[in-house]
């Protein structure tokens, strides 16, 4: 009999962590992640999760603890939000550069200044180039399921994974979630095998200084230089697309739930208008698509599940036939446009897709976005295209720009 519980996103994440059995957890509280850090403390103190919990004095240290514990051979977990993630920035690069399969949750929240504790995705978007795999969840079921997949993916390609889910919208909202059973999870997720274990049995200095040129080891064999190592990180991210798709398939086969590999599609087959986004706003767009369909507009949704590595081939297939595309983003690359929008345009460059892309910056700092408003945005875009206006546009939704 399946175990269905009505729980918040943070509870789903906590249960996901428990099922994956990390040996070391380090976290520092920040809204809206705090409940996750608290629940994990309770699991560890109550003996439900056999792990060392390091109650660090800040997020930079939280990720450092994970990096070092992972280096001596332990599976690790951390979680944060917003300024906490920004505070980790240096260590995000360090973790990816060290090729450590760390899994963390980013409970998405706007970044200061000014302060906001509410949801948008500027925190994780601004860490896009740190070499982490980034997955965005659309509901609480996907959070727990992605956690289990994330460890499998990370430990296969030796790239850390950030599981992003929207603060409050998911983290504090209850919905029914099926909890996978531990035995099936153990089968799906083999024990962690580090690529290198730092130990007195095999003494070595890890992450020492490199020069621009390659250098030979004592046997005279030329070894990787900095650039080769960095290339390998990029190659691993490229390779991870297949690993992510396969993990999703195997997961679907084992647990009966398919969240899409790199992305998911909703009524896109015949869609003229495709709405897209990441996380809960993409889920909300499916409601908008239903409304549009009821009004006679052939609308569909593509939810970008994995933002890094970017699903460049998947998006060409998924969006290929659309006449118009609307990208809703809870973040922006300041001085240009939404980061997802830029990436989509780049992916379509040189293909047959000539669909104009309208970019809506929406929901910053928790500003409410209703399905109706997504519907209106979709209609406006489609009307512009049908009137022959083929230019790309960027707008701020529900923002009184004066």
């Amino acid at each position: 009999m399946s175990d269905v519980r009505i729980i918040t996103g943070n509870e789903a994440a906590s249960l996901g962590v428990k099922l994956c059995e990390p040996k070391v957890v380090a976290a520092y509280p920040i809204t809206p992640q705090s409940a996750l850090a608290e629940t994990l403390s309770r699991y560890v103190e109550g003996g439900e999760l056999k792990a060392e919990y390091v109650r660090v004095e800040g997020e930079h240290s939280a990720l450092t603890v994970c990096i070092s514990a992972s280096t001596v051979g332990a599976r690790v977990f951390t979680a944060t939000s917003s300024n906490g993630l920004l505070y980790m920035h240096e260590q995000l690069h360090w973790a990816a550069g060290s090729r450590l399969p760390i899994v963390m949750c980013c409970v998405n929240r706007g970044v200061g200044a000014p302060w906001s504790i509410f949801n948008d995705q500027q925190d994780s978007i601004s860490q896009r180039d740190t070499g982490w795999i980034q997955m965005y969840c659309r509901d609480n079921q996907e959070i727990i399921d992605s956690m289990i997949q994330a460890y499998r993916i990370a430990e296969e390609v030796y790239v850390p994974v950030m599981i992003c889910y929207d603060g409050f919208v998911l983290s504090h909202t209850m919905m029914p979630v099926t909890i996978p059973d531990i035995e099936s999870v153990r089968k799906f997720l083999p024990p962690y095998k580090p690529h290198t274990i730092l130990s007195p049995e095999d003494p070595r200095t890890i992450n020492s200084v490199l020069l621009p040129v390659r250098r030979a080891n004592p046997e005279g064999v030329l070894c990787d230089g900095y650039m080769e190592m960095r290339y390998k990180l990029q190659a691993a991210l490229d390779q991870s697309r297949d690993v992510i798709r396969k993990a999703n398939e195997l997961f679907a086969h084992t647990f009966g739930r398919n969240h899409g590999g790199m992305l998911w599609e909703y009524m896109t087959d015949d869609a003229d208008l495709i709405l897209t986004g990441m996380g809960s706003i993409a889920a909300e767009a499916t409601v908008a698509a239903d409304i549009l369909r009821a009004e006679g507009v052939k609308a569909g949704v593509v939810g970008i599940r994995v933002f890094r590595p970017f699903p460049k081939d998947d998006v060409i297939t998924a969006f290929g036939h659309a006449k118009a595309i609307v990208v809703f983003e809870k973040g922006i690359s300041y001085g240009y446009e939404g980061a997802l929008c830029s990436d989509l345009k780049a992916a379509f460059f040189g293909t047959d897709s000539k669909a104009p892309i309208h970019n809506y910056i929406a929901g910053l700092g928790g500003r409410d976005v209703k399905p109706r408003e997504l519907v209106e945005a979709g209609k406006t875009t489609l009307a512009a295209v049908e009137a022959g206006r083929m230019n790309h546009e960027i707008k701020w939704l529900n923002c009184y720009t004066g």
Binding site: K23, V24, A26, A51, E52, V54, R55, V56, E57, G58, H60, S61, T64, V65, C66, I67, S68, A69, S70, T71, V72, G73, A74, V76, E90, Q91, W94, L198, S199, P200, D202, P203, R204, T205, I206, N207, S208, V209, L210, L211, R215, A216, N217, P218, C223
Partner: protein, 299 residues
Amino acid sequence: MKDNIFKINEKEYILPGSRACQGCGLSLAYRHLLKALREDTIITLPASCLCVLHGLYPITPVTIPTLNTTFASTAASASGIAAGLAALNKTDITVVAIAGDGSTYDMGIQSLSGAAERNTDFIFVCYDNEGYMNTGTQRSSATPLGATTTTTPIVPKQDNKKDFIKIMEAHDLPYLATTSPSYPIDLYDKFVKAKRIKGTRYMHIYSPCPPGWGYPTKDTIRIGKLAVETGIVVLCEIENGKFRFTGRSKTLSKKGKKLPVINYVERQGRFKKMSIEQLNTLQTWVDTRWNEYLRRAEE
């Protein structure tokens, strides 16, 4: 134990070919502390001269397993190693974090204080060469009053060095010690002792640096000794709150007389621009601390 150089572990853990400067105080200290810590040790270290000493990938002269970490994170890195080892039931390995004064006194103080407050089971070693040497002798908060550095090039440093021992003592640690490569047996014994103790142990190594301080490379040992003779450096231990002098500082405290700090200052280029007022302030600073220690030793 008798003060006998022959008791020191003969094995070398730094093979020939380190990238440190000639006459480097840190190298000498590192050699002896590794001898005391032996093989069952894991080290973590930040960007620093020690990172350079460890060599360029793929070759290192150091035969003890080592993890490089970022500048602010040395103690957190040790926390992670300790937690990982504990979780994997590898309890017989000593975890050691070693950082320069820059990443101890300045950027690393947060993670060090955090790890110490949690009484993380590790040894934190600060090798204090009184400046950011790796990046070219800039001022740190461990740079002494009156010293010229590349970021105090015209007006020599106006502020006293932080009393870091006091800061670490406020964390109620089971063991703190100061030592110097000029007294290798003192250094060796203290690390042997530290290794046997559980919890956070703080070791402060005063490490003369010829290029940074402006003295000939042959004088490293002498400068280190003068620092002790003048009371600039006090060799001591604080075990569960109990202070005691050790080695040469102990004999100085019993009989003998400290030399004036000028004897130490005049031998180093970095103090060339020091004013008489600064020299007097430094002397007062040293005397005040010395008297405080004398009082504590009698308690």
